[in-house]
Amino acid sequence: MDSDTKRMVNIAVAWCGPVFVLGYIIFWAMLGHNVPPPNVMGMTPEQLVSEYYGKYQSEISVGMIGCCVVGLIYTPWSLLLASMLRDDDGQLGVLSMMEAAGGILTGWVLAFCPAIWGTCAILTNQVSPELVRSLHVMGWVIYDCTFMVTSIQLFGLGAYTVLNKKQKIFPAWAGWFAIAVGVIFIPLVLIPFVSEGPFAVSGMWNFYIVFGTWLFGFFVPYSFFMLKATMGVSRGAQHTLRPAH
């Protein structure tokens, strides 16, 4: 592949990130009525059906099935990011692999859990409320309690950014923020156990702060520097996005 084509591919994949965020806001947050999500641990099965799935059935169905598509757009973006984390010899080291593996698995979770919620919405009048609630809770347990897949991505990315002082694409502060966001996820393990307060599924910490810091502490800065690096590469100037020496 010639360098100009490669540059265009990289730019297109770099834009997958913002497209994913925009798509997820539309499908998961807005159509899915997930800002905030229903506090399922504090609801009876009948309440979940009458106040959420029954009330917004069509919108949630469309939103969640939409997420099955846009959720996986996160994966190519993460892979491009991994390809930018090269060691001095141009190879991808273990930290890059952690970023890539975490990004792939996160992309899967971002699509798989909405598939479960979409099923709940589509079948909400055909199966018992208890089954709907069970599936709904299972979706959230997978979505939140497997936070380590994203934390692994963030730790690999953050550690590479901080430790590789020769790379000039990402500033060190962005790496520290990525690591910090990975740590902020820890209280997500509480969501199956609490039904009120900041650590509930719709709580201040486990919803607003976790999602907010992921967006503004990790995604926005890294996406910005990725776009800057890919779009800033002059035509034919280099074959790969290797760190400047």
């Binding site: 901080v162 060190a172 520290w176 923020f177 820890i186 307060g197 900041p198 650590f199 810091t213």
Partner: protein, 198 residues
């Protein structure tokens, strides 16, 4: 870059101890803890009775003991940095050993406190206060463990490392981090253990 400080340098001329990266980390980590503290305070104001009642179930003597342990440990690390500047590897090793021992005392104390809570049926899911209590103290405890690993590493390297600028900068970084862990605890202790009693 030489780390030596000439007598003619004013305090403003002198380089800050440690490296820029560590200062960046401390600043960002501080922002994260500030976010946690603000969320806690906001929730506490909204549910004052619940938080006050739950805070009464903590034993402030554990918190006080750990405050004294960390303060003493920080002082030992300061002395170790000074001993490094004077070129005294054996003294550095002794002081860091003391700091490490106090870190272990903190850890055991924390373990006993957690075990006692679990024994009486208090878990992170008991109520929002205890969710915060376990989250904040566990996040802080992870910092203590990380600090202990660093102190252990520099203690092992003391004999060969003392005298080099690289070792001094590294130990200054450890000292800065350890002071930060200490300062965090100085905020956590009154916020979690004392505020409900005022």
């Amino acid at each position: 870059m030489s780390r030596s400080i000439s007598a003619s340098q004013t305090p403003i001329d002198r380089p800050s101890p440690g490296s820029e990266g560590l200062w960046t980390f401390v600043f960002i980590d501080m922002m994260i803890f500030l976010l946690i503290f603000l969320t806690f305070m906001g929730e506490r104001i909204g549910h004052l009775a619940l938080y006050t009642q739950a805070q009464g179930q903590l034993n402030e003597l554990f918190g006080l003991a750990n405050t004294l342990v960390l303060l003493t440990s920080s002082w030992l690390v300061v002395e170790a940095v000074q001993a490094t500047r004077r070129g005294q590897p054996q003294r550095v090793s002794q002081l860091l050993g003391g700091a490490l021992l106090l870190g272990a005392v903190f850890s055991v104390n924390k373990g006993i406190e957690y075990a006692h809570k679990f024994e009486v049926g208090i878990t992170p899911a008991s109520n929002p206060f205890f969710s915060f209590y376990f989250f904040i103290t566990f996040a802080h405890f992870l910092h203590v463990l990380a600090g202990m690993v660093c102190i252990f590493h520099f203690r092992r390297r003391a004999r060969l490392g003392v005298g080099s600028a690289e070792y001094l900068t590294g130990l200054e970084n450890v000292g800065l981090f350890w002071h930060y862990v200490d300062v965090l605890w100085i905020f956590i202790f009154p916020m979690l253990y004392l505020m409900g009693r005022l």
